[in-house]
Amino acid sequence: MTYNSSRRGFLKGAGATVLGASVLPFLKVLPASAAGNDVVVAVTGQTINSLDIHRTGTNRPSYQVAVNVYDRLVSFGTKTLEDGSLSYDYSVIEPEIAESWEFTDDGMAIVFKLRPAGKFQDGSPITAADVKWSFDRAVSVGGFPTVQMKAGSLEKPEQFEAVDDLTFKINLLRKSKLTLPDLAVPVPMIINSKVAIANATDEDPWAMEYLHKNPSGSGAFKVASWKPGEQLVYERNDEWTSGPLPSVKRVVLREVPSPATRRALLERGDVNMSFNMPNKDAKELSETEDITIATTPIENAIYCLCPNLSFEPFKDKKVRQAIAWSVPYEEVFQTAAYGRGAPMWGGASTTPADIAWPQKFPYSTDLDKAKALLEEAGHGSGFEVPLSISLSQTDWMEPAALLIQENLAKIGIKATIEKIPGANWRTASLVEKRLPLHLETFGGWLNYPCYYFFWAYLEGHLFNSSNYRNEEIETLTGETLHMNVDDPDYAPKIKRMIEIVWDEVPRIALWQPALNVGTREVSGYEYWFHRQLDVRGLAKS
């Protein structure tokens, strides 16, 4: 459990608990490919900096600990995509800790029945009190977990009620389709409250310090060792009660910052998996025998070029449209993304046929049209504008910006590329929203168009870095956000919203990014909206 597990403790723990014979091949000097049939070795470029997703400063790669080591009340189903790879299925909600659930007659509360056999990793039973404590914590600690809970209308501890040991009730503030899916994201994980409370102090009532290094959940894997900046080792919880027992016993996740080294390791067969590979490597390795590359377009995410409506030329819709017609989409997609992902340009009609999101915007590269629009707007002689990119996302932003700059010059707009340090980027682009023309990316965890609109098109909302405001969008987003998808009003309203933002283009879609994962001798990799490695389904083949 501790991150600096000693040799003796490691061996003792391994021998005494679950490992038994499987630890033996581990100690011998063998290549990874021979490290045992139930051990998977994965490499990633990112650091896991906490074992507690609720903690302030916990970074994105750490979310996977919440996924693998903790359970939630419910989870999403699994589906097979067209290319044969696996993905979670947001349309299916499956039981995890909860055995069943139902809405009360007035629809203003959900009652969950917990599995009677549910056990935490320390063997104690999972009770409704644990669920309540965990949810109270998520809505009370502030920061990201609280914001994410709020997205599902889970805002204050009074909403959560432990009716009896195995019955948990959520009183709803409003009827919302987002509540149930929001219970399946990594944040509302169920913590062993007895252990946590025993390690809480007066200054630290939510045991932030303890759970930061000592996860205590009921998930399919335990953390066998954690060395931040080096590796994290998962070890199977043989007593897992919330799902079928995973087939691998141990997953070693090694941090290797250099993409070239990660690629060499995968090609040589010394690791079984490379998570979040650069597009270039994914493209070049996709033809390699023995290596399977899963490239999954990231749901509800678009890489965008955003003209800021607070700045003069962009107040005019025609100028924004002119820019949308001038982007060399195909070149940008091939150069910046190596063709991995989904094109978001060249849509057939200016009115959407369905409510799929994201879908192709009705723009393509047409410089004559762009020039004509600029002429109409009275900017025929062009203007100058800085095009801002983030230094920590240069992998795609730099090539995209250079190509866009080139085409803008052809219609008379002189763009100068301004590179902003990563630490400044969020403040400049999202908080102060002071960049006239910039690249931006947003992906919503909850896969509904209205959820994307809520974050990216409503005035003042974080990812609306274009300072866009449209009265109709404000009203329609508010109406659709909590509405059920099968409501007859839903689809027409969403179509109208899409039509408006296509016409007014405060965000010019470039392409839908993809997550690349290379595997070797391992099957069962599944794409999740949180874009982190779920090791529960992996199997050595």
Partner: protein, 341 residues
């Protein structure tokens, strides 16, 4: 001997204002970094309220002097604060990563010295010959190839193509278990534990990155040895020694080399301090959990505590290093009076 001890104490006392200055400057410089850590660490979907909460939690809502006194008080009590990006106390981060960097750098420098000094001596005794030219070519090549490039090429040839080198997975392949923490140097700790299998594993991991760094540090050392040897060999006392009929070996090593060693040691100190902080690229390529990449990552996200801790640790290290080099001078050249300063 007691005089020397007293001088050492005196020198350490002299270092105190330097350290104080470093504490103040590192504090001010980190505050001058662009970016707002509260916003950064509040995460992607944070709102105003949660950013404010985090600002309070980090103590960034206080005035600058107040923040400084809190920081200074913590440093005095041995608490360097908590790094937000790694989620660990800065002290334990440094304790983990500094030995990793030191182990790599020291091995690389040993290797580098073992090649550079004989090469420099050879080149100096035979100026203008093939050995001299070979020395020049080697050091020029070493210094002109960037370390990340050499690193990637070495990985490509010895790991990817030939399969001789172990997988470049940091300090130990995952199949080994790290030795009990005593010094943090895996080679020493494994030797203490008597675990020679792990020791060999650690050496294997060390070879490629150490060669990469050694190639880079070869140039200043070899050039300095050559220059110092040339000037020593052309000096009066060597002529006298030769005239007195001393053997060539005696002249070369006892008289010339010993005198030439001083500038070499000075260079070595400079190269060491430079390499320790600057081998970020080598660390990245070989997934080496060292202090250079730690500092750079902390800097990028404006992780104040980590940056300050790094600067302070480096300052302490340099003070110690300079002291050691000064003591080494007196050992090599008795004419240098340590006590007189």
């Amino acid at each position: 001997m007691s005089g020397r001890l007293a001088t050492v104490g005196y020198r350490i006392a002299h270092a105190i204002p330097v350290i104080l200055g470093v504490v103040v400057v590192s504090f001010l410089l980190t505050r001058a970094l662009p970016g707002d850590p509260a916003v950064y660490f509040a995460g992607p979907a944070a709102d105003e309220a949660s950013i404010a909460q985090i600002r309070t939690a980090l103590g960034l809502d206080k005035s600058l002097p107040e923040q400084f006194f809190v920081y200074a008080g913590d440093v005095l009590s041995g608490d360097l604060g908590q790094s937000i990006s790694t989620g660990q106390p800065v002290l334990s981060d440094l304790a983990n990563r500094l030995p990793a960097s030191l182990e790599l750098t020291l091995t690389a420098l040993l290797l580098s010295c073992a090649i550079a000094i004989p090469l420099g001596v050879l080149a100096a005794t035979r100026p203008g010959t093939t050995v001299d030219h070979l020395c020049r070519v080697l050091v020029t090549a070493g210094v002109s190839l960037p370390t990340f490039f050499t690193g990637v090429v070495l990985i490509y040839v010895f790991y990817y193509l030939l399969g001789i080198a172990p997988s470049p997975l940091g300090r130990l392949d995952f199949i080994y278990i790290e030795p009990d923490h005593v010094t943090g140097f895996y080679l020493i700790d494994a030797a203490i534990a008597g675990d020679w299998e792990t020791w060999i594993g650690a050496v294997k991991q060390l070879i490629l990155p150490a060669i990469t760094l050694a190639l880079f540090t070869l140039a200043p050392l070899a050039r300095m040895t050559r220059a110092a040897m040339l000037s020593a060999l052309s000096s009066d006392y060597i002529r006298t020694a030769r005239a007195a009929g001393l053997t060539e070996n005696k002249v070369l090593f006892t008289y010339a080399f010993r005198n030439a060693l001083l500038p070499v040691i000075t260079t070595l100190g400079m190269v060491f301090s430079f390499t320790l902080g600057a081998n970020v690229l080598v660390e990245k390529v070989f997934a080496w959990p060292g202090i250079g990449s730690y500092a750079v990552e902390a800097l990028v996200v404006s992780d104040y505590a980590a940056v300050q801790g790094f600067v302070l640790a480096m300052a302490l290290l340099f003070v110690a290093l300079n002291l050691i080099i000064d003591i080494a001078y007196t050992l090599i050249d008795p004419r240098i009076g340590f006590e007189t300063r």
